[in-house]
Amino acid sequence: MRPAPAIALTGISKRFGPVAANRDVSLSVAAGSIHGIVGENGAGKSTLMSILYGFYEADAGEIRIAGAPRRIRSPADAIAAGIGMVHQHFMLVETLSVVENVVLGAEGGAFLKGGIGKARTALARLSRDYGLAIDPDAIVGELSVGLQQRVEILKALYRGAEILILDEPTAVLTPAEADQLFALLRALKAQGKTVILITHKLREIMEVTDRVSVMRRGEMVSHVATAETSPPALAEAMVGRRVLLRVEKGPHERGAPVLEAVGLSCRDGRGTETLKDVNLTLHEGEIVGIAGVAGNGQSELLEVLAGLIQPSRGVIRLGGQILAAADRHPARLRERGLMHIPEDRQRSGLVTAFSAAENAILGYQHDPAFGSGPLLSPARIEAHAREAFAAYDVRPPDPALKTAKFSGGNQQKIVLAREIERGPKVLLVGQPTRGVDIGAIEFIHRRLVALRDQGVAILLVSVELEEVMALSDRIIALCGGRITGERAAEQADERDLGLLMAGVADEAA
C-alpha cells in the first residue's frame, strides 16, 4: 500500500462575501515531494494556503495531514500539525539576532536563557543537515534578503515542520539567491520533508518541482507531473487560453526628444550621492530601459524625474523647457503630461485602505471632472472607475471594493489605468510587473508597447533583466548611481549587460 499523502485536501470551499475564493478545491501532496501550485493572482492560491495554515477556516471541506483528518483553526494548530509557512513578506524582528528570531513564539518558558541555548544547538544541527550556513548571532536586519528567508525557513524547521509552504519565495531574491534556495529545497526533500511552492514563475516550477497543480478563478484545473508538462501548457491552463510568453513588438519610430536630464545628481538624507552626473535623453516613441542591480540609483532616477525628490545638481528639460524648482512637483509634472507608475504600488501608488474608485483618482483629485468646486462627486468617481476597470480588465470590476482586497496584478492595473488613460507624453514606469501574474504581465507589456507606438516616451525600470531586454528599444546600465553604458536593444545580450551592471565601465561611455 502507498503511504498516505502528506496533505490531502478535499472539497475545500471558502467565500468572502460574494466572492468564491476557493470552490471545491482538492489537492493531494505526496510526502517527501516538492509540489508547485501556480495560478494567476487572485486565483485562490494564497487563500488555500491560508486555510491550510489556519489564518482562515474553510466554509466546507476536509483537511487530512498524513492520513488523519485535522481541524486547523489557527497557525498554532498548523504548527502543531507539522506545517510551517514562509511568507512572501517576512515575519521577522529586524533588531533581534537570528537565534532570537528563531525562538520567538517558542521561547520555552519565562526566561530566555534555556530556550536560546536549546535553539542554538538545534540551529547548529539544522545548519549541518541542510547546509544552511548562517551565523546565529547576526542581527536579522543586517542580513541580505536571501539570508533572512533562510531564517524564516529555519524558524519553521525549528518548530518541527514536516511540511513547508513557501509563498512566492523568489519574488525578493536575485537569480543567484533563488538558485541557492532551490538547492536548499532539494536538500529538504532528500531529508523527507514535503515542500509546497507557490509561485507564478513557470521557470521555477519546471526547475524544482515534482508535481504541479494549477488554479484558476478559485478552482483546481489540473494536476500534472512536472516532467509531463511545459511552460506554455501551464500558462494556458492558468489563464484559460493561449498566452504569449514573448513580447511582440514592431520596429519603433523615434521622434523628437521630450525629456532630458543633464548632469543630474542626487543625495540621500545622509548626504551620500545616489545619482552621479546622469545624462539621459528620452525621445517620443521609444522605450528606454534601465538595467541595474536593485539599489544602484534606479529608484532615485525615477523619483527625481517624477518630482518626488530634488536633484542636488543638474537640470531636467521637459518638452525643451528647463524645469524650475517649482515645476519639479508631481502635480505640476502631471499637468505637463509626465505620468509615473511607481515601483512600489502598495507603498506609493495606492492607498490600500481606500476603495478602488478612490484610488483611481489618486493624483487627479483636483480634476474638475470628478466634482464641482471643492466637492467631489462619488457618483462620477465611481462611473469613471467602472469605465476604467472595464477597459483594463480589472477583476473584480467593483469600484467600491477596498483596494487591499485586489490581487497584485489587479492593483497594478488600477495604477496603470489611472496613469495611462490621460494620454501621457512621458511615462515613468517602475517594476511594472512585480508580483503580477502571467496574464496581467502580457496585458501590461502590450499596453506599454502600444503607448510607445502612439509616440509616448517611456522610461522603464525593472529588476527583471529579461523584461528590460524584451521591452526596451535602448538599454542604459546603471551602477552605483552612474551610467556605465548604453546599448541598442538588438545589440544587447545578457552577459554584456551583466558586466555593465557590475560596473565594468564601457570604453565608449
Partner: protein, 367 residues
C-alpha cells in the same frame, strides 16, 4: 505581526460591534456598582431617568452632548490626517479668549453681527492654537501628541494671566471677564422654542446645539465629499502615496490641525457664549479630553461621534442625578463607567469583532 483582520458585514461593523461593546461595558460597570453595595439595576434606572426621564434632564443631556460633539469632532478630523490631537482643552481655552476679546471689543453690535463674529473669533483662536503644533510637526518633526498637550498647559496659564491682568472684570476677585454685551449671546433653547408653543424648563441647552449638528454634517461633508477631505484621508492613510499624488503632507497636517482646533473652539461657544455669557476660568472642565474617547468610540465618523457624544451626555447628566440620589455612587463612579466604556469600545473592540464574526458564521451556516 498583527492579528488577521476580521471582516464583518457593514451593518454589524457600524451597529452591532459598538452595541455589544457598550453592553459589556455596562455589565462591568454594574459589577463595580455591586462591589460598593448598591443595586446596579436601580442605579441604571436612576441614571437613565435622570438623563432622559424629564424635559429638564434631556436639556442637560443635550447640553453636555453639544460639548462632546465639538471636542469629539476635533479629535476625529485630526485622526483622519493621522494626527492625534489631544490639545482640545488648550485650543478651546484660546478659542474662549479670542471670543471674549472679540465680544468685549465690539460692545455695540447687534446680535446677528456679534454672534457670528464671536463664533468666528472662537474658531480662529482654536485654529491658531492647533496650527502651532501642526506647523511644528510639519516643519520641525515635533510630535503633535507632545506639543498639543504641552500647549494645554500654556493655554491654562495664559487664561489665568489674561483674566487677572488684561480682560478680567474690573474690581472683581473672580477670574472672569465682564458679562458679554447683550447681543453677543446665544439664545437658550427654552426661549428659542417658546414662540412655537413649547414650554421648556430652563436648562443650559442653547442654540449652540444646532451649531454642533451643523458641524457634524460639515465634517462628514469635508472628510468624505471634498477634495481637501480626500487629501486629508490620503495623508492619514499613506503619506508616501500622498506625496506621490502631489499632495503635501506638511500642508495637510497644518490645515487638518487648524480645522481640528477650530472645532474644539465650539466648546467655548457653547460654554461661554451659550451658558455663562462671560469667560470664566476652567470652563473647559475636561470636555476636551472626553472628546478623545468620543472620537474613538465613534470611530472617527461624524454619525458615530454624534451617538457617542449623546451617550456621554447621558452619562454626565444621569451620573450627576445618580450621585445626588445615591451618595455612595459619587461622580467619580461616573468617570469609572466612562473609562470602562472607552476601554471596551476602543481598545477591546477587536475582541468582540472576532466573537461576533464566529456567531454570524454559525448563524449563516445553520440557516
Amino acid at each position: 505581526m498583527s492579528a488577521v483582520p476580521v471582516d464583518l458585514p457593514r451593518w454589524a461593523d457600524i451597529a452591532l460591534v459598538p452595541l455589544v461593546s457598550v453592553a459589556a461595558a455596562l455589565l462591568v460597570a454594574g459589577l463595580v456598582v455591586v462591589g460598593i453595595g448598591e443595586n446596579p439595576l436601580e442605579a441604571t434606572a436612576l441614571l437613565l431617568r435622570g438623563a432622559l426621564g424629564s424635559a429638564e434632564g434631556i436639556g442637560f443631556t443635550l447640553y453636555y452632548a453639544t460639548n462632546f460633539i465639538f471636542t469629539g469632532l476635533a479629535v476625529a478630523v485630526a485622526f483622519h490626517a493621522g494626527l492625534f490631537n489631544i490639545g482640545g482643552e488648550g485650543q478651546a481655552t484660546v478659542a474662549g479668549i479670542a471670543m471674549a476679546i472679540a465680544c468685549l471689543a465690539l460692545p455695540a453690535l447687534p446680535g446677528f453681527l456679534a454672534v457670528p463674529i464671536a463664533i468666528l473669533g472662537a474658531a480662529a483662536g482654536g485654529a491658531l492654537w492647533a496650527f502651532i503644533p501642526g506647523w511644528l510637526q510639519a516643519k520641525r518633526g515635533s510630535h503633535v501628541v507632545i506639543t498639543t498637550i504641552m500647549l494645554n498647559f500654556v493655554a491654562a496659564t495664559l487664561i489665568v494671566y489674561l483674566l487677572r491682568e488684561i480682560i478680567g472684570k474690573p474690581g472683581s476677585m473672580q477670574p472672569e471677564t465682564p458679562d458679554f454685551p447683550a447681543g453677543a449671546i446665544l439664545t437658550p433653547m427654552h426661549q428659542l422654542l417658546a414662540p412655537f408653543g413649547f414650554t421648556l424648563p430652563a436648562t443650559p441647552l442653547n442654540s449652540a446645539f444646532f451649531l454642533a449638528l451643523m458641524a457634524l454634517f460639515a465634517v462628514w461633508l469635508l472628510i468624505w465629499r471634498t477634495r481637501l477631505g480626500y487629501a486629508i484621508r490620503t495623508v492619514g492613510a499613506n503619506p508616501r502615496a500622498a506625496a506621490y499624488a502631489g499632495i503635501s503632507p506638511a500642508a495637510v497636517t497644518m490645515i487638518a490641525m487648524a480645522i481640528s482646533g477650530a472645532l474644539a473652539g465650539g466648546l467655548a461657544v457653547n460654554e461661554a457664549l451659550g451658558v455663562q455669557h462671560r469667560l470664566v476660568l476652567d470652563f473647559t472642565a475636561g470636555y476636551g479630553f472626553v472628546g478623545i474617547a468620543v472620537a474613538l468610540m465613534g470611530r472617527g465618523h461624524p454619525a458615530g461621534v454624534g451617538l457617542a457624544a449623546l451617550l456621554f451626555g447621558v452619562l454626565y447628566q444621569g451620573g450627576a442625578e445618580l450621585s445626588f440620589d445615591k451618595p455612595a455612587i459619587t461622580r467619580d463612579m461616573v468617570v469609572v463607567i466612562g473609562g470602562v466604556l472607552v476601554l471596551f469600545a476602543g481598545a477591546l473592540d477587536g475582541l468582540f469583532r472576532r466573537v461576533i464574526a464566529t456567531v454570524l458564521r454559525i448563524g449563516r451556516g445553520a440557516a
